[in-house]
């Protein structure tokens, strides 16, 4: 595909061309659909495609724009949505055989807001079953989603299809959900930008829960500006989600070009970097140096209770997930779940009510740790993932556990993977994943930028400053259809 292919454009670039009528939304949609048709059979990023409806929406957008009714920067821009969010008149399978015939009659609030902004919905993307199981397309049985940078590598999850779709330029941006890293891990593995907003910033109405007290919806994009733009559209009060905040939504793009001079950046060493591979650790330390050279002040911060965060995260996710799925388990549908979910449900039965409450108590300490840290720093940086994208064969069920050597010792893949994202889920702070380099194996690495509650503006500001000083986000995988 030529470098001038419109599929490679960011949302912002497409919007400028569409607004000035130099790019037709119909032609842009056709280009994405053609690319999906050619390459998606290898990558397996989509569960369902809305080709005819997308073209009709693009034609409607084109008519509106030509008539002078431009709705904004997403008008006529093709987007994909994780198949955990309801879409009116379409299947919402959650990647599970249990819901393979589940046609939803309404749009999730985040989807409705994107549509209101004029975007074209291309289809629904793959995910780990119900956000935590295995990646299997419940309609075709195809598994798993493959990393566009290397087809033998994992995309991670659970927003695997959204990550792969943005990375492979199947869409301009996508929606994902993040309960324990499900936006940030695929973003890191694919070399894209992913935001887990402050808990309660984006409505979860119409989003199948994984764990109510940890779930977030957020955008996955090719650039920080695109991400800020999408979040601005989907964030804000929604009476249909009682946990959704009524706080006003600021202009997330307002501070993108104001730099980081004078900003204080915290770097907690032991919890994150001691549990990251050498490539990841070096990339994140170099990212700190890049920000320092732009005038930021980087300092150590102490978050003493993070050492309990993985345990608390696991207790909460497993407990709330088991509670949600109990209705299906009582109906005798256990055998319909993928192996990973079956095992997790079995393991979840050994987590007591007291453990669950204890985990929620631990959250208070972790929240307080972050609040204290933010008295001294403006953002905290860490790896998005402690490892590069792992080989897909390591995700298959065997009796041996894949491990990695990190400074803290030899640890299982799981312990390293869960470790980096869960503090932001437990504390509810916003956390942005941005590309920060490539491993020796040529795979993307991710930097995580965490901010104060409701301060996505500063998080985006740091992300944009880092992005402007580096070129990692401009690299695209060379995708061959010969897998």
């Amino acid at each position: 595909v030529a470098a001038t292919d419109p599929c490679y454009l960011t949302i912002t670039e497409s919007a400028d061309l569409i607004r000035s009528k130099r790019l037709s939304p119909v032609e842009l949609t056709r280009a994405y659909l053609a690319r999906i048709e050619a390459i998606n059979p290898t990558i397996n990023a989509f569960i369902s495609l809305f080709s005819e409806e997308a073209l009709a929406d693009a034609q409607a957008a084109e008519r509106e724009i030509h008539a002078g009714h431009y709705r904004g920067p997403l008008h006529g821009v093709p987007i994909a949505v994780k198949d955990m969010l309801a879409t009116r008149g379409h299947l919402t399978t959650c990647g599970s055989k249990i819901l393979r015939d589940n046609v939803t009659r309404f749009d999730a609030t985040a989807v409705a807001r994107l549509k209101r902004g004029g975007c074209t919905l291309l289809g629904k993307t793959m995910l780990s079953e119900f956000g935590i199981g295995d990646d299997v397309n419940p309609l075709t049985g195809q598994r798993p989603t493959r990393n566009p940078w290397n087809f033998e590598r994992s995309v991670s999850g659970s927003s695997s299809g959204s990550g792969a779709a943005v990375c492979a330029s199947f869409c301009a941006g996508a929606l994902g959900s993040d309960t324990g890293g499900s936006i940030r891990l695929p973003s890191a593995f694919c070399g894209i930008v992913g935001m887990k907003p402050t808990y309660g910033r984006v409505s979860r109405y119409g989003v199948t829960p994984l764990a109510w007290s940890l779930d977030n919806v957020g955008p996955m994009t090719k650039s920080v500006e695109d991400n800020a733009l999408m979040l601005g559209l989907i964030a804000g009060a929604d009476p249909a989600d009682v946990m959704c905040s009524t706080k006003p939504v600021p202009d997330y793009r307002a501070a993108l070009r104001t730099g980081v001079k004078g900003l204080r950046i915290g770097m907690p060493g032991d919890f994150f970097l001691q549990y990251s591979t050498r490539d990841v650790g070096e990339a994140v330390r170099e990212a700190a140096r890049v920000l320092e050279r732009q005038g930021a002040v980087v300092m150590d911060v102490d978050l003493p209770h993070l050492k309990y965060s993985m345990a608390a995260e696991l207790a909460i996710i497993y407990s709330e997930s088991l509670a949600y799925h109990s209705k299906y388990l009582r109906e005798g549908k256990y055998a319909l779940y993928t192996e990973t979910n079956q095992a997790q449900f079995d393991a979840a039965r050994f987590i007591s009510a007291a453990d669950y409450v204890q985990a929620q108590q631990v959250r208070r300490y972790i929240i307080r740790d972050f609040e204290k840290a933010y008295e001294h720093v403006d953002v905290i940086i860490a790896p998005s993932s402690g490892i590069e994208a792992n080989p897909i064969k390591e995700d298959e069920w065997t009796q041996s556990v894949p491990v990695r050597d990190v400074p803290a010792g030899t640890l299982s893949l799981w312990e390293i993977m869960w470790r980096m994202p869960c503090p932001a889920n437990l504390s509810g702070v916003p956390a942005l994943a941005v590309p920060c380099g490539f491993s020796a194996a040529g795979l993307p690495l991710g930097l995580q930028i965490m901010g104060r509650h409701w301060d996505e503006v500063t998080v985006y500001r740091v992300g944009a400053a880092y992005e402007a000083a580096t070129s990692w986000h401009t690299r695209r995988p060379e995708i061959s259809t010969k897998a």
Binding site: G200, W212, S213, V242, M243, P304, H305, K307, Y308, M310, A311, A312, L314, A315, Y318, L329, Y334, E339, T340, Q342, A343, Q344, D346, A347, A348, R349, F350, I351, S352, A354, D355, V357, Q358, A359, Q360, Q361, V362, R363, R364, Y365, I367, W397, Q399, S400, V401, S412, W414, E415
Partner: protein, 105 residues
Amino acid sequence: VTNRREVPAHRAEGVNGRLTRREVIIGGGALSATGIAITVDGQSEQAARPMSDATLIASSELWGDALTPQRIAAMRWIFEFTDKQIRELRAFDAGDEGPVTQFRI
């Protein structure tokens, strides 16, 4: 009190030396998560290993879907991973700290 020698409680930073409400409550007795290991009046019974085949099978029967040893073997590492995390969680003394809840005022 319960036998805490095997898994020493880590007190939260900043908590003073007084007995917490939790310590007072667990002084009388405690029932384990699966109802299998019971500790009463300072007499600690031999706790069943929470991830042993027998315990896993017994628990799964309560759910109406008994695990087989073969299935347990295939999933052993996820059970052990969970067990490790839960032990770490239980080792933390959260004191009188209130839990995060779904309620928003």
